[in-house]
C-alpha cells in the first residue's frame, strides 16, 4: 500500500511539472524554472521556522512568493541593470540559495526539520510517515498526496482556463501584446504556478530534482510533438513513466527513489532523441521525390 501511495504522489508531481514545463520550454525559460526551484529555499526555511509544522498551507503560499520574487529579480537585473539574461538567472538563484543555506544553519539550530540533503533531492520514501488518519483508524493516505492533489487542482484549473492565453504568450510575446493582451500579467501568472509547484513538491522530490521533472519530460515530448496538446499529453506520459520505472529500479538497486526517477527521465530523453535521429535518417534515404513543401525553414539560431 505504501508503495502505491509513493508512486501515485510522485506521478502527480510529475504531472504538475510536465504541464508547466511545456510552457516554460516553449517560452525558452527552462532555466528560469531551475532558478525558481532553487530560490524558494529561503521562503521554505522561513515557512518551516514560523510554523514548526512541515506543511502549513498558508506559509507554503508565502514561500511561493519567494519564487515569484526571484523571477521578478531576474527580470529586473536583465532589464534595469542590463546584465545578460543567463547571467541574471545564475546570480539570482545562487544568491537566494546561499541565503537559504545560511538561514538554515543560523535559524535552525538544533531544529532538524529541514534535512539539507532532502532539500536537494527530497526523500519520497518518508511521505508515508506523515499520514492523515481520521478517527484514529481510518487511513486516508499520506499528507503529501493531498498537497499534490491541491497543486494539481490549482494548476489544472489555471491552465485549462487560461490555455489560449498561455499558448499565445508562448508562441510570440509581441503578437500577444499586439492583440492587447497584458503579457506581463500572464508571464507572472505562469511564474507563480511554477513557483507553487516547486514549493509544493519540495518535500517530495527536492529542489534540484523537481527541475528534472519540469524540463526533461516536456523536452522529450517536444522532440516529436506537432501540437501543443500532444506535447502536454506526452510530457505527462513520460513524466509518469519515469516515476514508475524509476521507483522499481530504485527499490531493486536500493538507491534514492527520486534520483532514479529523474535518471530514467534523462535516459528516456536521450533514447527518444537517438531513435528520432535514426528514423529521420532512414526517412531521408528512402524518399527521393521531394514534395514541394520541403523547402527547409531557416532556423533562427543560424542567423
Amino acid at each position: 500500500m505504501g508503495e502505491l501511495w509513493i508512486i501515485i504522489t510522485a506521478s502527480i508531481v510529475a504531472l504538475n511539472a510536465a504541464i508547466l514545463g511545456c510552457f516554460l520550454l516553449l517560452r525558452k525559460m527552462a532555466m528560469v524554472g531551475d532558478a525558481i526551484s532553487h530560490a524558494v529555499l529561503p521562503g521554505i526555511v522561513v515557512a518551516y521556522y514560523l510554523s514548526g509544522d512541515k506543511t502549513s498551507g498558508l506559509l507554503l503560499l508565502g514561500a511561493t512568493l519567494t519564487g515569484v520574487l526571484a523571477s521578478f529579480a531576474i527580470d529586473f537585473l536583465s532589464r534595469k541593470a542590463k546584465i545578460q539574461g543567463d547571467a541574471s538567472i545564475g546570480i539570482t538563484y545562487t544568491f537566494l540559495f546561499a541565503v537559504g543555506m545560511i538561514m538554515i544553519s543560523t535559524m535552525m539550530n538544533g531544529n532538524t526539520d529541514i534535512d539539507m540533503e532532502c532539500v536537494l533531492y527530497g526523500d519520497i520514501s518518508l511521505i508515508n510517515l506523515d499520514k492523515i488518519v481520521v478517527d484514529g483508524n481510518l487511513y486516508l493516505g499520506p499528507r503529501a498526496f493531498y498537497i499534490e492533489v491541491i497543486a494539481l487542482v490549482i494548476i489544472g484549473f489555471s491552465i485549462g482556463f487560461g490555455f489560449k492565453g498561455f499558448k499565445v504568450l508562448s508562441f510570440n510575446e509581441d503578437y500577444a501584446k499586439a492583440l492587447g493582451i497584458n503579457t506581463n500579467r500572464w508571464h507572472y501568472a505562469l511564474m507563480t504556478l511554477v513557483s507553487l509547484t516547486t514549493v509544493f513538491s519540495f518535500e517530495v522530490v527536492g529542489a534540484v530534482l523537481v527541475v528534472g521533472f519540469l524540463i526533461i519530460p516536456p523536452a522529450t515530448a517536444q522532440l516529436f510533438s506537432t501540437k501543443l496538446k500532444q506535447m502536454l499529453f506526452w510530457a505527462s506520459v513520460f513524466g509518469i513513466l519515469a516515476v514508475i520505472i524509476g521507483y522499481y529500479l530504485a527499490v531493486w538497486m536500493n538507491v534514492s527513489i527520486t534520483g532514479a526517477m529523474v535518471t530514467v527521465a534523462g535516459i528516456d530523453f536521450f533514447l527518444v532523441l537517438i531513435i528520432q535521429r535514426l528514423v529521420d535518417r532512414k526517412k531521408r534515404s528512402t524518399t527521393f521525390a521531394a514534395p514541394e513543401f520541403i523547402t527547409p525553414t531557416p532556423k533562427n539560431s543560424v542567423e
Binding site: L26, K167, D174, A178, G180, Q222
Partner: protein, 263 residues
C-alpha cells in the same frame, strides 16, 4: 474632397537605449490603400511599426487610428511580425496559428465558437492552405509560412493591417498571390501598411509611400516620393549632425522632451 485618414502619426519620437531612432515623424495615411514604408537598413521602419502598434513606447508625440487612441481600436488592427521573429518549431498546426487571430483580450477564457471556426477555415481557404491546415508550421515552405501569417491577419477581421516585411523569403508566385489578396482587401476598403525593402517593385505594389531614414524623408504617391533627390537623401547615409546629437543624448541619458522634466 479629403480622404479619410486611417493612421495619424503626430510628431513621433522613439528612442532605443536612450538614443532617438525616429525623429519627429509626422504623417497621415489615407484609408483604403496599400501603403509601403521604405528606407535603408536601420532607418527605423520596424521601430515605426512597433510604435504604432504600441509595442514600443513613444518618447514624444502620439499615434491615432481612425482618430482614436490605440487601446480603443486595437481590435481593428492586425499586426504581422517579421517571419524570423517567430519560433517555427512551436508545436502548432496551421489551423492553431490562424485561430490565434480570433483571440481577443476578453475572449481568452471563452471557448471557441462556431463563427470563429468558420472565419478561420475561410481565411485558410483564401490563402490556399486548406490542404495543409493540419500540418505543423515548421514543415511549411517560407512562402507558406508567410501565408499562414496572412491568414491569421485575415481571421482577425481588422480594418488596418501592419505587416513587417511580408515578402522576405517568399517565392515569386507566392509574392504575387499575396499581393493579389492584399489588393482584394484594399478594394474592400481595408488599409494595408507594409514594410518593404525592394525598391524595384515599390511602384508596382503600392499606391502610397512613406520614405524613412530615422526622420521622414517623403510621403505621397510613388511618383512624388521616388525622386532622385529623395532617394539620395534617404539612402545617402544618415545626417552626421543628427547622428552626433543622438549620440550625445544617449551618452548623457538626456530627456528627449522638456515635458519629461517638470519645470
Amino acid at each position: 474632397m479629403r480622404e479619410a485618414c486611417a493612421i495619424e502619426v503626430h510628431n513621433l519620437t522613439t528612442t532605443y537605449g536612450g538614443a532617438p531612432v525616429l525623429w519627429d515623424i509626422d504623417f497621415e495615411l489615407p484609408a483604403g490603400h496599400i501603403i509601403g514604408i521604405i528606407g535603408p537598413n536601420g532607418s527605423g521602419k520596424t521601430t515605426l511599426l512597433k510604435t504604432i502598434m504600441g509595442l514600443l513606447p513613444a518618447s514624444s508625440g502620439y499615434v491615432k487610428i481612425f482618430d482614436k487612441d490605440l487601446e480603443q481600436i486595437r481590435h481593428k488592427i492586425s499586426y504581422v511580425p517579421q517571419r524570423e521573429s517567430v519560433d517555427w518549431d512551436f508545436p502548432a498546426s496551421v489551423f492553431d496559428i490562424v485561430m490565434m487571430g480570433r483571440y481577443r483580450k476578453n475572449n481568452l477564457f471563452k471557448r471557441t465558437n462556431k463563427t470563429d471556426l468558420e472565419i478561420v477555415l475561410q481565411s485558410i481557404e483564401k490563402v490556399g492552405l486548406t490542404k495543409y491546415k493540419d500540418r505543423q508550421i515548421a514543415q511549411l515552405s517560407g512562402g507558406q509560412q508567410q501565408r499562414v501569417f496572412i491568414a491569421r491577419a485575415l481571421a482577425q477581421k481588422a480594418d488596418i493591417y501592419l505587416m513587417d516585411e511580408p515578402f522576405v523569403g517568399v517565392d515569386a508566385a507566392t509574392e504575387h498571390s499575396i499581393l493579389k489578396l492584399l489588393k482584394e482587401m484594399r478594394d474592400l476598403g481595408k488599409t494595408v501598411l507594409i514594410i518593404h525593402h525592394d525598391l524595384q517593385t515599390v511602384s508596382d505594389y503600392f499606391d502610397y509611400l512613406v520614405l524613412l531614414n530615422t526622420r521622414l524623408i517623403a510621403k505621397g504617391t510613388p511618383q512624388e516620393v521616388l525622386t532622385e533627390e529623395n532617394l539620395t537623401n534617404a539612402y545617402g547615409g544618415q545626417l552626421t549632425l543628427l547622428a552626433k546629437v543622438a549620440n550625445l543624448i544617449k551618452v548623457n541619458q538626456f530627456p528627449i522632451r522638456e515635458k519629461d522634466v517638470d519645470l
